[in-house]
């Protein structure tokens, strides 16, 4: 296999965007081409989950490649639920590593805000098991609520710990121009004050409003290429060193131990093995905190902390900017936003920025190894990526 490098990156604001999906996809692509001075590509992968329903558009990659005037390069749309982004990066990696392509553009793009919140939640809920989950009214927040209740009961995690994830990630997002929520919050405001229940109502108890990510529009891009082409960009060399993916049962009810996220564990293990690194080597991570509980549990399952210790590390400030292992310096899905199909590419974009030393006020000092966990379904399809800064 050839080694694969990130030549260029780009991103849009994650927010409500009032322009068409193809443009949301194209802008970060053009940004990445501009900074890398790459003018042509061999292949485009577009990660997206909801376009056929939210935007009544199919064949998205064909539309995007034409919109960017990059024909006749190959183009495909990749759909893997909320893990579409990292799945598309995986395809790009395979293309370059195999020698089939020299330069692959990976774009994630989503425009969920074209429909209302209930419809957007339903589009995402359609990835649950149609016969044994969806018919009952199961949505992703409800699965997260049921999971959180079990987890909190078993490991002594409290609503305060969940709140700490939200407070931390909202604070991180204050220094991220592209984040959806620029709104600093406090535990007092969301849990303790007499207005707490108004500020922070129940969504799927024990999860409240500030335990859930917003529904965002947005796009992000990574250009993957060979060492020779990456060198010409003049940018610091960031290598995509590890790609790991794993699956778990479609329905959450079927998991032997319902507080385990085995697909996260397995995907992380594979990613670290390919990179010949260990969880302790990581300097900065972007984890899939669609719900606050997930950041805590994923930080354990990927191997940063022992099972049941994630909330302790959080409480001690280990995972905030300035701590020993900053998690979600971008603000995470919680505050940076969650444009479903684009999220995995957005996570990778942040890690590349961090490893290049270009993250500005939220820069993690001397970050050389970065990690992302992109969580599809409710943990039934997970892709983890490991990036390494080389020079």
């Amino acid at each position: 296999m050839r080694e694969v490098y990130v030549a260029g990156i780009g991103i849009t604001s994650f927010t409500r965007l009032e322009y068409p999906l193809v443009e949301i996809a194209a802008y970060p692509g053009l940004m990445a081409m501009k900074e890398s001075r790459i003018k042509s590509i061999d292949q485009l992968y577009v990660a997206n989950m909801g376009a056929s329903r939210a935007n009544r558009q199919t064949g998205l990659a064909s539309a995007v490649i034409d919109h960017m005037s990059l024909t006749p390069a190959g183009a495909e749309t990749i759909e893997n639920g909320p893990a579409s982004g990292a799945s598309a990066i995986k395809q790009g990696f395979l293309g370059v590593a195999s020698g089939m392509y020299d330069t692959v553009m990976v774009i994630g793009a989503e425009r969920m805000r074209e429909v209302n919140n209930l419809e957007a939640t339903d589009i995402v809920a359609s990835l649950t098991h149609p016969l044994v989950e969806y018919i009952y009214g199961v949505t992703l927040p409800s699965l997260a609520g049921m999971f959180a209740r079990l987890y909190m009961d078993k490991y002594g995690v409290t609503s305060r710990h969940l709140g700490m994830v939200a407070v931390k990630n909202h604070k991180h997002a204050m220094d991220n121009f592209y984040a959806h929520l620029h709104e600093e919050i406090t535990l007092e405001g969301i849990l303790d004050s007499k207005d707490a229940l108004t500020n922070n109502p129940m969504v799927a108890d024990p999860l409240r409003y500030y335990d859930c990510c917003p529904v965002s529009d947005g796009g992000a891009c990574l250009i993957l290429t060979t060492a020779d082409i990456a060198k010409k960009t003049g940018k610091p060399m960031v290598r995509l060193a590890g790609v790991g993916q794993a699956t778990d049962t479609h329905a959450v009810q079927d998991r032997k131990n319902p507080t385990d996220l085995l697909a996260v564990r397995e995907a992380a293990k594979k990613s670290f093995a390919m990179a010949a690194l260990k969880p302790k080597d990581v300097h900065v991570a972007e984890l899939h905190d669609a719900f606050t509980i997930l950041e805590i549990v994923e930080s354990e399952e990927v191997g940063f902390f022992e099972k049941g210790q994630g909330h302790i590390a959080l409480q001690e400030g280990y995972t905030k900017l300035g701590g020993k292992l900053p998690i979600n310096p971008s603000g995470g899905l919680k505050a940076k936003g969650h444009p479903v199909g684009a999220t995995g590419v957005g996570q990778a974009q942040e890690i590349v920025l961090q490893l290049r030393g270009e993250a500005g006020k939220r820069q993690v000092k001397n970050a050389k190894v970065g990690f992302t966990c992109n969580f599809g379904g409710f943990g039934n399809n997970v892709v983890c990526l490991t990036f390494v800064r080389e020079n």
Partner: protein, 115 residues
């Protein structure tokens, strides 16, 4: 007639699976792929639950109580709970009722009540 929800018992190894899969999760026998249908138990206990305050638009309610119940036969099912104050471990008894309706269809599933 009393309605049931059925699980699938592998004719080769006897493993019971719910929901249906085209191949047995236990023995992976791909030569026969035959199952007997067996009704799921209607008694069990609550594993976990949530009150969902923003249910999908097909539901004309402001709060939907959802849960996962472990049945006496060992299978676990996701379900609706018609219990105002559910608790983990609470004993429950189920009925098969309409759990969702849209313009064209009615969907039957498990609704559990306090036993």
């Amino acid at each position: 007639m009393e309605k049931n929800i059925y699980a699938y018992k592998c004719k080769r190894c006897g493993h019971v699976q719910y929901p249906y899969r085209t191949i047995c999760r236990n023995c992976h026998d791909n030569d026969h792929n035959e199952f007997d249908i067996v009704p799921l138990s209607k008694k069990g206990k609550i594993v976990t639950f949530t009150h969902l305050y923003n249910p999908p638009s097909d539901f004309e309610t402001v709060c939907l109580t959802l849960g996962i119940v472990e049945l006496d036969d060992g299978n676990r099912v996701t379900c609706q709970l018609n219990i105002p104050k559910p608790k983990m471990g609470m004993k429950v008894a189920g009925k098969v009722e309409v759990v969702r309706k849209d313009e064209y269809n009615k969907y039957y599933g498990f609704v559990f009540y306090e036993a």
